[in-house]
């Protein structure tokens, strides 16, 4: 009997280590912050949506290109390992260079704020969104 349970435990361990990794379901969340800021934030995780907000944002045009500085704040005491990506839109709300932007990893410590800076890829960009998801 002892031998049998050892073998079963071994099998369970093997299955655990060899098994495939599955990712969780992503859900669109709504940040509870200033409406003007919130419309620029897209969070792909329901739990994260209530924890992370845009606290401040500033934009300016440099050499014809939209320059954005966004301050992201963690409302909880636990560290958040996230990744973010800026998406850019022209004056007709078409995404500019869709899919070309890359995700950047970011560690947002408990109750910390971090600023993210980005420059639009070309002068046609008029507005932007910050996409956030768990790392």
């Amino acid at each position: 009997m002892k031998q049998l349970s050892s073998v079963a435990a071994l099998a369970a361990l093997l299955m655990l280590t060899a098994g495939c990794t599955t990712s969780g379901m992503e859900a669109t969340g709504r940040p509870g912050a200033d409406a003007e800021f919130a419309k620029h934030l897209v969070i792909y995780n329901e739990a994260l949506a209530s924890d992370v907000i845009i606290q401040d944002m500033n934009t300016r045009v440099t050499g014809g290109l939209l320059e954005v500085n966004v301050v992201l704040a963690n409302l909880t005491g636990s560290d958040k390992k996230i990744q973010y990506r800026f998406s850019w839109y022209d004056d007709e709300n078409f995404e500019v260079e869709a899919g070309a932007g890359n995700w950047t990893p970011l560690l947002l410590n408990g109750f910390a704020k971090k600023s993210m800076h980005a420059l639009a890829p070309n002068p046609t960009v008029k507005t932007y969104k910050v996409n956030v998801r768990e790392l």
């Binding site: 049998l4 440099t62 990506r85 890359n102 890829p121 070309n122």
Partner: protein, 201 residues
């Protein structure tokens, strides 16, 4: 010699079979721009972060903003030296940087890797007799590069037991070909730490 009894042998075989079934292989398309953390070695996320930082820095540097306000200067890319211990395709990094600069509408590029191919095409148009005089391009009308882009990629790797710490530093500079002055330079630092744990859990 250790021998398993018949029922135990059967159980072991079943366990191995179950483990084989559990270790399935699946192929799926991923997000090319997603964060990649497979190992601490130089990866796609590092390349993309370097390119984004360098392009943003160059395009917002006040003297460069002033230069590119009225015209699109011509630049050529000199090789970025790989001073790390890894095999890294630095041309891929400069390709991404030059593509983004080109698409920004602020710079134009001459490709020094294609000079031989261009010369071959010129010879074909001008000397083969197959191309009409009206449509053949003229010699001596190419645009000379005003700026040269070049740089270095270096790394410091440290290991302590199961922990590996890698520090990358990418330096990029833009030099005025005529004056020899470095007009812009910036650095991007990346630190990555990898820890090996038991059973890969």
């Amino acid at each position: 010699m250790f021998r398993l009894s018949k029922p135990t042998g059967l159980i072991v075989a079943s366990a191995v079979f179950a483990a084989t079934l559990a270790g399935c292989t699946s192929v799926k398309y991923g997000d090319a721009g997603g964060v990649e953390t497979t190992t601490a070695d130089f990866g796609s996320t590092d390349l993309q972060q370097i390119a984004t930082t360098m392009v943003d820095s160059l395009l917002t540097f006040p003297p460069i903003v002033e230069i590119t306000a009225q015209r699109r200067p011509v630049m050529f890319v000199e090789k970025v030296k790989n001073k790390t211990s890894e095999h890294i395709d630095t041309e891929s990094v400069t390709d991404t940087i030059s593509s983004r600069l080109l698409r920004s509408g602020k710079f134009r590029f001459v490709d020094m890797n294609k000079v031989a191919a261009l010369e071959k095409q010129l010879q074909y148009q001008l000397e083969s007799g197959n191309v009409s005089d009206e449509s053949a391009v003229k010699r001596g009308r190419q645009i000379g590069a005003e700026f040269m882009m070049y740089g270095n990629l270096s790394s410091i790797v440290k290991r302590d037991g199961s922990t590996k710490d890698v520090y990358y530093k990418f330096t990029l500079k833009v030099m005025n070909v005529e004056s020899g002055l470095v007009e812009w330079a910036d650095e991007k630092e990346i630190r990555k730490t990898a820890k090996k744990s038991l059973f890969g859990l």
